[in-house]
């Protein structure tokens, strides 16, 4: 049986787990093609105009998949961690899809609500296996393998690699170290982010993304905000930002956000105000389906050049 996973949204955050789990269970896993202009156009056709680009892309990827697989996996992410939920668009995603995509009959909706952490994840996997009449041991084995592969994936990040973009390691002696903060589905989709991370690396920048910081360090920053944000991914971003502000181990921060992203206007403004306080250079890049390559290049080059000059001046003053 063929199961299709759209290459969008949560895929970028959790794909090693998903792919391994379904493969070991004995499914044919088909991931939708890498984002192209065609997929983007398909998405824009179906999704409502007010939605943000990642949601439109999800529509496009579903269109790309739905006729060549038996089931298209559409997760309804409710809770992954106890302290936060997801953006309302994630919560209503299957409902949106079933209304906006015509003739979409093979949706496989999976409600992910992991209030109690690992235990709930295990139960969810077992329930899924039972639905497709797979044996318990096979499912258990798949679950363990999936966890292992996810652990391996997070470990690669901590080593300075960016596995979704195929970057294994980065040169440690780069002159400039920049944090690129944003949601996994923005940063790791090379089409959507206009290959921003690779561009920076080619400019000789060492890139840090939220996934590269240790979970423990991020959790420590949770108390910095008067009120915890409601959204898991946003919490990751803002806690990473506070981590970096505090340790001052990067030269600047680039925040990548989607046009019209709901949670991000809060995240972005909070970071902007605090960046000023900590004297951290800060750049916001807003992306949508119309963003041009050249405009982005110019902004990135200017930002990196500015940081280089600043650093050179500082070193000269020290010497």
């Amino acid at each position: 049986m063929k199961i299709g996973i759209p290459r969008a949204l949560a895929y970028y955050a959790y794909y090693p787990f998903l792919e391994t789990f379904f493969e070991k269970l004995g499914f044919d896993v088909v991931v939708s093609d890498k984002t192209t202009k065609e997929i983007m156009d398909l998405g824009i056709e179906d999704a409502i105009t007010d939605a943000c680009v990642p949601i439109k892309l999800f529509h496009g990827h579903v269109r790309n998949l739905k006729d060549r697989v038996d089931y298209v996996l559409v997760p309804r992410l409710v809770k992954i961690k106890h302290d936060a939920t997801f953006c309302p668009k994630f919560l209503g995603l299957p409902d949106m899809l079933s209304c906006s995509i015509p003739q979409f009959k093979n949706m496989l909706e999976v409600r992910v609500d992991l209030k109690r952490g690992r235990l709930d994840l295990f139960m969810l996997c077992m329930k899924f296996a039972k639905k497709f009449k797979k044996s318990f041991f096979k499912a258990y084995n798949a679950y363990l393998k999936a966890l292992l592969s996810f652990k391996n994936y997070t470990h690669q990040f901590l080593q300075g690699g960016i596995p979704p973009l195929g970057i294994v390691g980065q040169k440690k002696n780069s002159p400039i170290c920049l944090a690129v903060l944003g949601y996994p589905y923005m940063l790791y989709d090379p089409y959507l982010s206009l290959d921003l991370i690779k561009k920076l690396i080619n400019m000789g920048v060492y890139v840090v993304t939220p996934e590269m910081l240790r979970e423990k360090d991020k959790q420590k920053q949770a108390s910095k905000l008067k009120k915890t944000l409601f959204w898991t991914f946003s919490n990751e971003v803002i806690r990473s930002a506070y981590c970096l502000f505090e340790n001052q181990n990067v030269d600047g921060i680039i925040h990548v956000t989607a046009f019209g992203c709901g949670p991000d206007f809060i995240v972005d403004k909070l970071m902007e105000i605090d960046a000023k306080k900590y004297e951290m250079p800060y750049l916001t890049i807003t992306l949508d389906e119309q963003t041009g390559q050249e405009g982005l290049n110019t902004r990135l080059e200017a930002f990196v050049d500015m940081l280089k000059i600043k650093k050179a001046k500082k070193e000269a003053a020290m010497a």
């Binding site: 999704a47 007010d50 953006c87 309302p88 209503g92 209304c99 008067k226 991000d264 809060i266 000023k276």
Partner: protein, 375 residues
């Protein structure tokens, strides 16, 4: 003494002012949002903040300039962004150099202790339980009456013979209610309101019925929705709004305390289309549309601030819902750029379409009757 102020939303400032004054605060009454308010708001708010955020931020700046030192607003538990607005607004305003205290009233279900602690900050007298009850009773009655006056105005406006009568009557009613001193006054006013509306000269016909659903702030604050209800009423349309502040307070403050989901009907109706709570009023919008359809309405208008997440989800679901129930559907995104005349054109076209649709359905009914009689 504290100088307290709060966001402006419809006529809710009348009971709030009473409540806060009775607790011994000096109240800086927020002005009705104008161009100036919105220009302050858009200047300091992030670009993608939703329209209510900008209006409220602008209002805060105006009242802080007028000397307020305490701001009271509601919180929330998400996932709608509005629950975090006070946090961000406080940060923005403090960054601008204003000195004040922000008091956020969280829903009682999860934060009862916080809520009581925060309310205590606002109470400056020693009051007996009896006092609390009489203050609460008065403010509540005022709120309910204001909603009633507004509801009646929606009902009467399409029927009025002389245009503008209803609007004037409504204004008079609000003044009367705001001027009440005692609880017994309010009872008299209630009768008077009914009499005033009865006195309007009326035509007798069956107007087009449109239900309005959407996000609470743009629904309740006429200056943010360009007085859409008045505009529709003057086009001869009976308008009904899915939400009033008194009902909202019951379902979100009282029911929440006992962990009962408010607005059950709407949620039940939305269930086949909208399976998950997604914050804000997205699910209520869908549920209320179904309820409107069941009551024989002709169309639905959805009001949402630009980039409002729950309403975007609802917006992608509503066309299907309305199609299944044979309703006309129009969605209106509001922000600081929306122009009144553009909106009027859209509304006129929408109402014309609904009228044509109704006529078609009627002629079909008549025809089928003839055919039946012949057979």
């Amino acid at each position: 003494m504290r100088k307290v102020s709060f966001p402006y939303m419809g006529t809710s400032y009348i009971p709030f002012e009473r409540l806060l004054t009775a607790f011994g605060n000096e109240v800086v009454v927020p002005p009705r949002p104008t161009e100036e308010t919105i220009s302050y708001g858009t200047k300091y708010a992030p670009e993608f903040a939703c329209y209510p955020f900008k209006i409220v931020l602008g209002t805060y700046i105006q009242v802080l300039e007028a000397g307020a030192d305490t701001l009271v607003s509601s919180g929330g538990v998400g996932p709608c962004r509005a629950g975090l607005y006070t946090t961000l607004q406080e940060k923005i305003l403090k960054d601008l150099g204003y000195q004040f205290e922000m008091i956020t009233l969280e829903p009682p279900g999860r934060h009862l202790k916080d809520l009581i602690y925060n309310i205590k900050k606002l109470i400056n007298y020693r009051l007996s339980l009896k006092d609390y009850i009489s203050i609460g009773r008065f403010a509540w009655k005022q709120l309910v009456l204001l909603d009633k006056a507004e509801r009646l105005s929606h009902k009467m406006r399409p029927l009025e013979v002389k245009r503008g009568d209803t609007t004037q009557t409504y204004k008079k009613c609000v003044e009367l209610i705001a001027g009440a001193k005692k609880y017994s006054d309010l009872r008299e006013i209630e009768r008077e309101v009914e009499l005033l509306y009865d006195a309007i000269e009326k035509k007798d016909y069956d107007p087009i019925k449109i239900g309005i659903v959407g996000e609470i702030y743009v629904l309740l604050e006429p200056s943010s929705n360009l007085e859409i209800e008045e505009m529709l009423g003057e086009l001869g349309v009976y308008v009904e709004r899915s939400m009033f502040l008194s009902e909202y307070t019951i379902s979100n403050a009282v029911m929440d305390l006992f962990h009962i989901a408010g607005d059950r009907d709407a949620k039940k109706m939305a269930a086949p289309y909208f399976k998950e709570m997604c914050g804000g009023h997205g699910r209520e919008s869908v549920g209320n549309s179904v309820l409107f359809a069941k009551r024989g309405f002709d169309g639905i208008i959805q009001l949402s601030p630009f980039t409002c997440i729950p309403e975007i989800v609802a917006k992608s679901i509503l066309p299907k819902v309305c199609k299944e129930h044979g309703l006309g559907f129009l969605t209106i995104s509001l922000d600081e750029q929306t122009g009144k005349e553009g909106l009027r054109t859209r509304l006129e076209a929408f109402v014309d379409l609904l009228m044509a649709k109704r006529k078609k359905a009627e002629s079909f009914r008549v025809k089928s009757q003839y055919v039946k009689e012949m057979a």
